[in-house]
């Protein structure tokens, strides 16, 4: 693969292909599509955190005029618990079939128990009230400590941990060296425990779909997701319809951040459409989104780090308990694997526990698990640096992972840009800027694995000599703009001549989820290879016209040229001219590539955060923020910065305000944007970005994943800044006004929580 140099479009802030549609209101998101004869689906949800479902009587609902279909767990394909895992990616269909519709038990308030389709939304809602569910209400546990204590109500009676029925569903351990030996060498050891709250991805677009099932079973799904192929496969699994009969069309997606990597509505709407013979539309309310989808895990962690007096980390031990919600699958891999990865530490033990409790099943959220682990580790590192009387960036530099460092999760790092992020932070004007009263500065770093995986692309030259690129990944943050830049660069034409679209499941080859920061990395590999095949065809055709060898033809500035005067004197043949001659020269020009892409390098970032604490109100305000990251190669710097800025602001919300508040009945009390307080525009300063570009040698343009790293360091950076401002440390998130006020009002000697 050739590294492209001397770029015209790569690195340019071009106008995104879907931009005009989005600034004029034309772009079609999932809830924007309608069909003739369409009816509306609604979900009946459990009011209880934990209850055995003894019976469901839907007969009254079915008789209500206007009701066209009712479905319950009986209609959904069962994946029995005792038959073993049926995996689709990282999702076990045994859990998915129980998450989309409660089967034996309702496991959280909001868990679907039935769904109705009717001619209007109002009738569907009315019909839900007529469904009689006989519940045996069971004791429940919401918090980790309540779920793992002796005598805790057990969600999944078949599960055993240490030989006993347990809500601990699994354990992951990663080891390097021997921590006992490491801590024996340590001269300073600091051990601290932390808690974080579950937080929601907070996408502004609620889940929605429109589904039509024809009499022959041919099914069409319009929905908003992070993977139309995931939607197709999960719907096929859960309804029994073969994948070849399901065309999943990706609508524009109004934010996902990991939360739209599984299905909630699609299997229900498909079954309702099949039963009723009518297209069915379902749209969640915000309250349903907050009660029944996402979030990421809450956690409790203990991190112990040992150093020698010269500032070398000799041993590290992390224990991370993560809430999975109602069904197994919390992101312990991210917490365990990423937390210590930025550092070259000889002895590491990193352990994660997956804990079920009676809250909605967690979904992926931007570097799942990694921000939780980094919060604990980077706060302890701050305390260690302070104990060593070392500058926190110097301390990190002294221990930074580099090429050849073996990470606890397995790989030996290739050339990475972590040290460059620390150097840039150290020399950044922000790091030296003066601070005022009640202001503080914190730094933190973070790592995310990044991913490759399956991607497909088809690149076609139109009859008039322009280009259409089709890929298979929903574009959440501007990936189409990156693809247009790359394809235009390779072909040497204006980027506006390249149209980039997202294909549906029946028109483009399999492409895995938009997740893991993989999309531009993976799709640009298949787009590059497809485009290179096209350039080869164009050279061959020019060679034929000129009656010279194809090797004597080069492609440059959008046209074929003889490589040198020795090859012959011919005027260039442009893409347009060759496209017009295509019918007579072997036919249409196009190429597709499908690959399981490899070579995704992990990403590293270092952040600097300044806060000011309002001593009267207990409000922590972020007043300056700089996010520095090794991004490999910024194909479209505007959307790379956008990833950094957006991730940082999500992290600030996580650090300072966002949390689910549960009432005494085990229900979420703040299922809306008023009380679940995400950052608003007036809360934030500008977010400065520093892009370090250490190209990924295994990628044709040097791309590394960018989207997830920016969330990883944030909570620790904010927490370290608050400590710097107040001289008191918070060991639990969020650092919300009531908590901060309590600390400010406490007698001086009392430690922070």
């Amino acid at each position: 693969m050739n590294i492209v140099t001397n770029n015209k479009w790569i690195g340019q802030r071009t106008i995104r292909p879907d931009g005009v549609d989005k600034v004029t209101g034309r772009a079609a998101f999932a809830a924007d599509t309608n069909m003739p004869g369409m009816i509306w689906g609604k979900v009946l949800r459990s009011p209880h955190p934990h209850a055995r479902i003894k019976s469901i009587d839907t007969s009254k609902a079915e008789k209500l005029p206007g009701v066209k279909a009712v479905v319950t767990a009986r209609d959904i394909v069962d994946f029995p618990l005792d038959k073993g895992a049926v995996m689709l990616g990282i999702q076990d269909m045994r859990w998915m079939c129980r998450n989309v519709m409660a089967r034996e038990k309702a496991l959280f308030p909001g868990h679907p128990v039935a769904a109705v389709a009717a001619t209007t939304e109002a009738i569907a809602a009315e019909a839900c009230k007529l469904i009689e569910v006989d519940y045996e209400v069971l004791p429940w546990a919401i918090e980790i400590d309540d779920a793992i204590k002796d005598g805790a109500p057990i969600l999944h009676e078949w599960n055993k941990f240490d030989g006993k029925p347990s809500n601990i569903m699994g354990k992951l351990e990663q080891k390097k060296g021997d921590i006992a030996e490491g801590f024996a060498k340590a001269e300073i050891v600091i051990e601290r425990s932390f808690t974080t709250r579950p937080v929601h991805q907070g996408y502004i677009e609620p889940h929605a779909c429109l589904i039509s099932v024809a009499a022959d079973g041919k099914t069409t799904i319009w929905s908003s997701s992070q993977g139309q192929f995931m939607v197709r496969a999960m719907t096929a699994y859960l309804t029994g319809i073969p994948q070849s009969d399901i065309r999943a069309i990706p609508a524009e997606i109004g934010g996902g951040f990991g939360g739209k990597t599984i299905v909630y509505l699609e299997p229900l709407a498909t079954l309702l459409a099949k039963k009723s013979g009518r297209p069915v539309k379902m749209v969640m309310t915000r309250e349903e989104v907050m009660r029944a989808t996402g979030p990421t895990s809450g956690s409790k962690s203990t991190v112990k780090i040992g150093v020698t007096r010269d500032g070398k980390i000799v041993a590290a031990h992390g224990i991370f308990y993560l809430q999975a919600g109602a069904l197994p699958g919390s992101p312990i891999r991210g917490a365990v694997g990423c937390s210590f990865a930025p550092y070259d530490i000889p002895h590491i033990l990193s352990q994660g526990f997956d804990v079920c409790s009676n809250r909605s099943k967690v979904a992926a959220y931007r570097a799942p698990g990694a921000p939780i682990g980094a919060y604990a580790v980077e706060c302890v590192l701050d305390e260690v640096a302070s104990a060593l009387k070392m500058d926190p960036l110097e301390f990190r530099l002294k221990n930074a992972a580099k090429e050849g460092t073996k990470a606890a999760h397995g790989p030996v790092f290739p050339r990475i840009g972590f040290i460059e992020t620390l150097d840039m932070a150290k020399s950044h004007p922000h790091y030296k800027a003066p601070l005022g009263k009640l202001q503080g500065r914190g730094v933190a770093s973070g790592f995310w694995f990044n991913a490759g995986g399956e991607s497909s692309a088809q690149v076609n030259i139109t009859e008039d000599g322009n280009v259409v690129v089709t890929t298979g990944h929903p574009d959440i943050g501007g990936s189409r703009a990156g693809i247009a830049n790359i394809c235009a660069e390779l072909l040497g034409i204006d980027y506006k001549r390249v149209s980039v679209i997202i294909g549906d499941t029946q028109t483009i080859g399999f492409s895995n989820l938009t997740g893991g920061s993989r999309v531009l990395f993976a799709s640009s590999i298949v787009v590059t290879q497809s485009t290179e095949k096209i350039i080869q065809t164009l050279r061959e055709r020019a060679a034929k016209i000129w009656e010279i060898d194809p090797e004597a033809v080069k492609w440059e500035d959008g046209a074929a040229h003889p490589v040198s005067p020795n090859a012959g004197e011919f005027p260039p043949l442009t893409l347009k001219e060759l496209a017009e001659k295509a019918p007579a020269m072997g036919g249409p020009i196009g190429a597709g590539v499908q690959l399981n892409t490899q070579g995704a390098d992990g990403g590293f970032g270092t952040h600097i955060c300044d806060v000011e604490v309002d001593a009267d109100l207990g409000i922590v305000r972020v007043i300056r923020y700089t996010a520095i990251q090794d991004v490999g190669r910024a194909i479209h710097p505007g959307y790379v910065e956008g990833q950094l800025q957006g991730g940082v602001v999500q992290g600030i919300g996580w650090a300072l305000n966002e949390e689910y508040i549960y009432n005494k009945d085990g229900k979420v009390d703040n299922p809306g944007f008023l009380d679940y307080r995400m950052p608003v525009c007036s809360d934030m300063p500008m977010i400065d970005c520093g892009l370090v570009e250490v190209p990924n040698p295994k990628h044709p343009q040097g791309v590394k994943g960018v989207g997830e790293v920016p969330l990883v360091p944030v909570m620790a950076a904010v927490a370290n800044a608050v400590y710097n401002a107040l001289g008191k440390r918070f060991y639990s998130l969020p650092m919300s006004p009531p908590k901060v006020s309590a600390v400010l009002d406490a007698p001086v000697a009392q430690a922070a929580e």
Partner: protein
């Protein structure tokens, strides 16, 4: 209950529609009027994705009854560009990469236009407080604020 007949003006065009008495303006726009540019993010007036103007005043269309549009003038995102000519705010949002997923963009643009009509030369702080009712989860607001300030500067230069 019988449906309500409403005569109103939407983006300068006289319009008539029927709605349920309890129907919101957002539902009427997205339903009978077929204007799906305004988005529903929360239906409680917290996210601003459904922002429109009513007689020039910025409102959340999810908090307004459709029947209340009678005799009034509604403007939505669909009325912002003049044919192929984008409004300077729309152009600056594109140039500054001030949108990622795009679900908040309609509301952000409508709210920003309402601000610049009232205050053609806002400070960064004024922009931030004016847009505090419009949630964006993708961008961290940085590029949105820059786009609005840049559009305001350009509009001041070209104003008659």
């Amino acid at each position: 209950m019988a449906k309500v007949h409403v005569s109103t003006t939407v983006n300068g065009e006289p319009m008539e529609f029927l709605c349920e008495p309890y129907e919101t303006m957002l539902d009427a726009l997205r339903g009978s009027l077929g204007l799906t540019g305004s988005k529903e993010g929360c239906s409680s007036g917290d996210c601003g994705a459904c922002s429109i103007t009513l007689d020039g005043r910025l409102v959340c269309s999810c908090l307004m009854l459709a029947a209340e549009a009678e005799g009034h003038e509604i403007r939505t995102i669909e009325g912002m560009a003049h044919g192929e000519q984008l409004h300077p705010l729309q152009q600056k949002f594109l140039e500054h990469a001030a949108l990622q997923c795009g679900i908040c963009t309609s509301g952000m643009l409508v709210a920003s236009e309402a601000l610049l009509t009232k205050n053609p030369d806002p400070t960064e702080e004024e922009v931030r407080f004016w847009l505090a009712g419009n949630l964006c989860r993708c961008t961290g607001y940085d590029k949105i604020v820059r786009a609005v300030l840049d559009a305001a500067a350009e509009m001041r230069e070209t104003a008659p």
